[in-house]
């Protein structure tokens, strides 16, 4: 499975640098801000197959390139588990992540431990939640987007798609609109 660059990127490589910058920024905005109206970058099938085995295929635009580089360079120690992968897959997925990583102003900052969930924008967007919610059995961890974002696995995080997690204690109902 060859990772073909998107036509836009191919074009941008031959174009002056400012066009490349514009094009890449456009891509990143679409993927990083899934609740924006922009088109989402469809994930590389290999990324979907390998990474979404244990969690959703997090939109590539949710981490900056430097973070993805470290993540892909340390898969045998991946947030407490061994996620090691053959070298061919690592190379293909890394390449795709570098092209589609977040370059939008809010994502450029490398979050602590290269975790999406420690990014300033993530923390701000979830600051109305009771911190105890992440530890509940119905949620398990902040990495489990699907607990509330019903279409997170499709890369979609629109406000309208947020539902109260099944089996979560009603005392967490504060601030829920569904």
């Amino acid at each position: 499975m060859e990772n073909r660059p998107l036509a836009l990127v191919k074009y941008a490589q031959a174009a002056p640098k400012w066009i490349a910058t514009l094009a890449l920024t456009g891509l990143a905005v679409g993927s990083a801000w899934a609740d924006s109206k922009g088109p989402m970058v469809p994930p590389l099938p290999q990324y979907q197959a390998e990474c979404a085995a244990c969690h959703i295929a997090y939109p590539a635009g949710m981490l900056p390139a430097a973070s993805w580089k470290r993540v892909m360079g340390s898969l045998s120690k991946h947030y407490g588990t061994d996620a090691s992968l053959d070298e061919t897959s690592v190379r293909a997925i890394s390449q795709w992540l570098q092209v589609n990583a977040g370059t939008y102003k809010r994502v450029r900052e490398e979050p602590p431990q290269d975790r999406i969930t420690t990014s300033a924008w993530f923390v701000r967007k979830h600051d109305e939640l009771d911190p105890a919610i992440w530890k509940q059995a119905a949620v398990k961890s902040a990495a489990n987007c699907m607990a509330c974002h019903t279409r997170a696995d499709k890369g979609s995080f629109s406000e309208r798609e947020i539902t109260f997690p099944k089996g979560l204690d009603a005392r967490f109902r504060r601030n829920w609109s569904d």
Binding site: I56, G80, T81, D82, N144
Partner: protein, 132 residues
């Protein structure tokens, strides 16, 4: 004499290919593991191994559940996963490279080392023994 060894070599090679290259079924993968282990697989031991902790936080059952005939759930991310027993999920143990990848990762998470061929054979024998 040379001819004899050439033929013997050819036969050995053909046999090796037959046992490894076409390991597209759980039974074929079990045979290959048993051959590597040099003993018959022990399903009861496999069940015990699967459900025990091995000096770390997780057992195999932490994600696959104690009776892997139903869905499992990733112990840290909560992501649901299909049953591990082949009779309940026809995709399981049909791709040797995939089986090896997951044994490598999961044995490292559960035991902090690679599993032996005998341990893998025992577990797979138990999984295959789980019928509808």
């Amino acid at each position: 004499m040379h001819t004899f060894f050439r033929i013997l070599g050819g036969v050995t090679l053909a046999w090796a290919c037959a046992t490894t290259a076409s390991a597209g079924t759980p039974a074929e993968q079990l045979n290959a593991l048993a051959a590597q282990a040099g003993r018959s697989p022990n399903p009861a031991q496999g069940q015990q191994f699967f459900n025990a902790q091995h000096g770390r936080e997780w057992s195999c059952a932490s994600c696959h559940s104690a009776l892997p005939t139903g869905d499992g759930k990733h112990a840290s991310t909560g992501k649901p996963m299909g049953p591990l027993a082949p009779a309940f999920n026809p995709e399981r143990f049909t791709d040797p490279a995939k089986s090896e990848k997951w044994f490598r990762r999961n044995c490292n998470d559960v035991l902090a080392r690679a599993c032996t061929a005998a341990e893998k054979a025992d577990v797979l024998a138990w999984l295959i023994s789980l019928k509808r």
